[in-house]
Subunit: 689 residues, 2 copies
């Protein structure tokens, strides 16, 4: 229910301009801190307490372990951990990172031809060299990430807006979908990296589509349908089920059994997981020479690895409403990559597929991750042989069916298009860019588009002409209200965004459109007419006065100072002994447009900043109006902008501080006071004693 307020609002105070307000209400002279002072203050405030907080913030495990709710969360974590673990064992790492690191490996240790000139390679087999390169790149990537986390540059994640992340992760899901297609179809397609790689991969798949392994395909389709249905049931009966049905585990076990029993590998030529390396190898020292060779490539790997993981994390953080901290994530990635690399591990990022499995099978905390890691350890050491007959197509099918949630994000296109076109463009641009150009370039493209939308939104806002709501001191867009009061000769123009280099011309055009005439053109026509008149006067032609020119003259100019200011006349026209009355009817030979505006009020309340490049344009625009005798008022101007105008010498004889007023109504009352003779909206007078 709406609550209607019917209390009375009564204000009685002087009409203020900013100047007179400053007289009545003394302002404190504040010195703003310089940049160095801010830095100094920040450094001196780095005390023990802060350090402790910082440590806890990078080691959050201490925090959440204390809060673990065993009864509520443990069961889900265990089920989810087991499911994820199963998928994790048999799936490779995140495909994009694999391809990026793989590119470095292939460059430094090519299949054939001479490898790079690195002494650390001596005495190693080609496979060992490759492992060394991969683990060194991973280590270097960890160093970069740790450094970024320590330097607190995790703030860059604020630029990963929900919209961008949604488009980006959808594209990642499409990439994974395509990468799993070959397993589902039982085809063999090499990994391709770089722009348009997805197109090439699809091309390679379609070329050999006739070689599809029917057994793989049928099995995959059956599994996808079954898992999909069970997952829907899990969703629907979430409240009634003690724990979601672990359908992935069940399917995997059945598939293993069936594949082993009917000997799929031999009989139907199905590709199976096969023999896994057992046990663990000793640690390895990363090669500094490889660091030097691959620094330029390791940095984008570090960025992409982190960004992809963070953006996936953000999707779930949004869904489950918890905060995540970029710096903390960076430190975590950095440390785990450096630690892992010494044990020959591969670059860590996110596995979108496994994340989806973990979440949709009910995992709540890092305990699920721990369990899936333990699963992987147990399996690789002891139980690996049990999974050897599992067809790869089963894994592919499980991954694809779990991408459903991510791919459903495509629905956002329509949602965004209806509500906010620029964001729709960001979504589609990021998604298309990431699909076509690859995740690294796609991310850059998405970020670029996203930042441009901020510029565009401030650059092309919707301007409006305001008018008074009768009986109040409120002013609203006159197009929105049928009964508004706009006194004759007054225009209130609202500038609805910051003013800066890219939109000052836009505003000048909109202003000309709003008032209905171009002040510069009027000024030029007037000057031309004046030159004509001067010529006529110089000729001392007695016929002029009869032609009605006398009407144009005022008898005398009281304030010669003022006169020179009113129009920017060429120097030799200054000597004119009269001032023109431009509102009078002029003879047709002087085609000077009439100006039926005496006051222009600019509402600056939404002008959050004003840059120096735009200031010149603004000043010119204001001068053009004052020179055709229109009084300009600026209202609700921010105090910071006022300061800046002063420091940039904005004010002179024509542009004075007296044109600034605190509210629209103050300015309007001042206008009405000055033009009492004009007919004014009677309703407006109600509010004025």
């Amino acid at each position: 229910m709406m609550v209607t307020l019917r209390k009375q609002y009564v204000v009685s105070r002087p009409v203020y301009s900013e100047d007179s307000l400053a007289e009545d209400h003394e302002k404190i002279h504040r010195k703003h801190k310089a940049l160095m002072e801010h830095v100094k203050e920040y450094l001196t405030s780095c005390d023990a307490n802060r350090a402790k907080k910082a440590v806890v913030s990078v080691l959050p495990v201490i925090g959440w372990m204390r809060m673990y709710r065993v009864r509520e969360w443990l069961l889900g974590d265990v089920v989810s951990g087991v499911s994820t673990g199963l998928v994790a064992i048999m799936q490779g790492s995140f495909p994009v990172l694999s391809l990026m690191v793989g590119a470095v490996v292939t460059r430094l240790v090519p299949e054939d031809g001479p490898h790079a000139n690195i002494t650390d390679f001596e005495g190693l087999t080609q496979d060992q060299q490759r492992v060394l390169v991969a683990s060194s790149v991973t280590f270097l990537m960890g160093i970069f990430q740790l450094a970024m986390g320590v330097l607190q540059v995790g703030f860059i994640v604020v630029y990963l807006s929900d919209t961008l992340v949604s488009g980006f992760t959808t594209a990642a899901a499409v990439h994974i979908l395509v990468s799993q297609l070959k397993f589902v179809l039982g085809l063999s397609v090499p990994g391709i990296n770089g722009p348009l790689s997805m197109i090439y991969t699809l091309e390679k798949i379609f070329v050999q589509i006739t070689s599809t392994n029917i057994c793989d395909l049928v099995m995959s389709i059956v599994i996808m349908v079954v898992v999909f249905i069970v997952k829907e049931l899990n969703d629907r009966y979430r409240a009634k089920l003690p724990v979601p049905i672990p359908i992935e585990v069940i399917v995997t076990v059945i598939a293993c059994g069936v594949s082993y029993g009917f000997n799929f590998e031999k009989r139907y030529d199905v590709e199976v997981v096969g023999t896994m390396v057992k046990g663990y190898e000793p640690p390895i020292v990363p090669s500094v020479q490889v660091f030097q060779e691959s620094a330029a490539e390791a940095f984008p790997v570090a960025i992409v690895g982190f960004t992809v993981a963070f953006s996936v994390a953000k999707v779930y953080a949004n869904k489950h409403d918890y905060p995540i901290d970029g710096n903390q994530e960076l430190v975590a990635f950095g440390v785990s990559n450096m630690f892992g690399a010494t044990f020959r591990s591969f670059a860590a990022s996110t596995a979108l597929s496994r994340t989806a499995v973990q979440e949709s099978s009910g995992g709540k905390t890092q305990v699920a991750g721990l369990i899936s890691a333990m699963m992987a350890m147990i399996v690789t050491v002891a139980l690996g042989f049990l999974l050897e007959p599992l067809p790869r197509s089963v894994l592919g099918a499980l991954v694809i069916v779990n991408l459903k949630g991510m791919l459903m994000q495509f629905r956002e296109i329509l949602y965004l298009w209806r509500r906010d076109k620029p964001e729709c463009v960001v979504w589609v641009g990021t998604c298309l860019g990431a699909i076509l150009l690859g995740l690294d370039f796609g991310l850059a493209v998405g970020l670029g588009i996203e930042l441009l939308t901020v510029v565009f939104r401030t650059q092309f806002p919707r301007c409006s002409i305001l008018a008074n709501l009768p009986g109040t001191d409120l002013y609203r867009d006159q197009k929105d209200y049928p009964l508004v009061c706009e006194p004759k000769g007054v225009k209130i123009f609202r500038i609805p965004s910051p003013i800066f280099f890219a939109n000052i011309e836009f505003f000048r055009n909109k202003l000309v459109e709003a008032v209905g005439f171009n002040p510069l053109r009027v000024l030029r026509k007037r000057n031309k007419a004046l030159r004509k008149i001067k010529k006529l006067l110089q000729k001392r032609d007695p016929g002029i006065t009869e032609n009605g020119l006398e009407d144009l003259f005022w008898t005398a100019t009281n304030d010669p100072e003022e006169n020179t200011e009113v129009l920017e006349l060429p120097a030799d026209l200054k000597e004119l002994p009269f001032q023109m009355n431009w509102s009078a009817e002029l003879p047709s030979e002087f085609s000077v447009p009439t100006v039926n505006l005496h006051s222009l009020i600019l509402d600056f309340s939404a002008v959050s900043f004003l840059d120096i490049s735009a200031m010149k344009g603004l000043k010119m625009a204001l001068k053009e109006f004052t020179r055709v005798d229109v009084d300009v008022y600026i209202v609700s101007c921010d105090a910071l902008i006022m300061e800046k105008l002063h420091s940039c010498m904005f004010f002179d004889d024509e542009i004075r501080t007296s044109m600034f007023f605190p509210t629209l109504h103050d300015a309007m009352l001042d206008v009405l006071e000055k033009h009492q003779d004009n007919s004014t909206g009677s309703v407006l007078k109600d509010t004025k004693l």
Copy 2:
């Protein structure tokens, strides 16, 4: 003089919330035009009149020729035209474009080795092949520019802010300064293109600095000093001199004579202009094959050529206060490049050096350009031999001394640093980028930095806490005024910029800072305390009430609906038969922070847009406050934003439209009404009957 206004401002109207205002003042339901309707409207409004205007706008020569003021402008134009013509004849084209086109030429027709496989080359000498490539690239560049002009994409020039242009042209001046050094020193240095080319050029110069030709150096220094002094005199006695002294022409003539008389070329090994090709060659047909080979390179040439010329034009347009139109310039460049290319001309852009000569020697209109072109024509056809003995170092010295104005722009660094740090960063970034990376990459870097400043300015604005100016309905930053009234339990927080994905977290942090507590933390602590209490209640421990816990309970909950909304409690805590009174003193075992705030007013007047990504964060922030029993008010919210909030389902049971108020004072009066018992600022009461 300040004018003090002492008229009375009296307003008496109901206190409005946005909802009650809508009841009293009916709003028109406006349907906003969809994108397609705008396009359709634009297309249907393309009539004959518009077409005529468009034609005139691309052929402005018709306009300005009618307005030419012979007596005022002609003399200056002639002097300037002659001076510029002299420099033009003997100076190459704009160095950067020369290098860019040169790169294409060298690629397609290398000095040695096989040239590109282009059949059009058959039967041509190497020089002729090179001319063909250069003119074809120029033609293609013209096509690109004309197309851009016709497609009206000249609007991109709005992104060339004064600051960016100033930094960019300063860098261009530095490039030219360096390119002339070799002439002044009499050294021979090959042209280098690409990033860091200036460093390499300087390196090459300094390596052979000992081979400096002393005659060239002395002559250059003498000329620079003389020309500099004469130009200063021209400036100082501008009013008295009928026309500026044409010092460049005088110096050139003297230098020619002296060089010829003393046979500088032979005696001092001075490099002279030497024999010029006489007459004109027949037109040439551009090669379509070269188009295909060089399209990717011609496009950046077209962009850089236009941008450099436009930015130089803008410097002078600012100085002399006339407008320039990007599309018109594009059409002009496109046509002249296409026309010129068929006559074997080179890519046209600006010549910063000659522009500077033309302006500082008094040229006013395109007539000066015409005269300098005619000069060039006459000289190349007839008088060329007279200039043959002119030392190149003299020309270099003349160019360098004319760069003074451009280089003086370095002073802007200090000016901008004092007034607007982001713009200073743009200036320095553009200038450094263009100096080090070359003009093409430098322009891209500058544009990137410039657009980022727009994002940064909106991302990190200065937030403020407002308070009432006693005796008025005005609210200002409480830090600015010593005597302000801030009623107890009320905070007015002003959000001074648009709200979008990149700053929503910033605002949430600032808001927490402003109110002095984190509502989420308070909420969590409260929930924890409630869980504790519930446990105690479940144990039915009779000791609890004695421990003072009874104080925590309200007797009964009148509105059970309301109760479930107040706190987001875990489901099983909903059954609590009481509501907490959190302002009461709690036993120390419940460490719940006290909240001494009952109302939070957010001033949205400067929020010019709100994106969907930020909306979720905003909603969460608002909910956090309402859930710790703080009434949230949003005032002066833009009508468009309100519409968007509605269309995006922003409102629900917790976030209602009734929290929106038209002005700060309306909201404050509503707060005071609700909390009459609290002590309020007595001055505020003055304004309220």
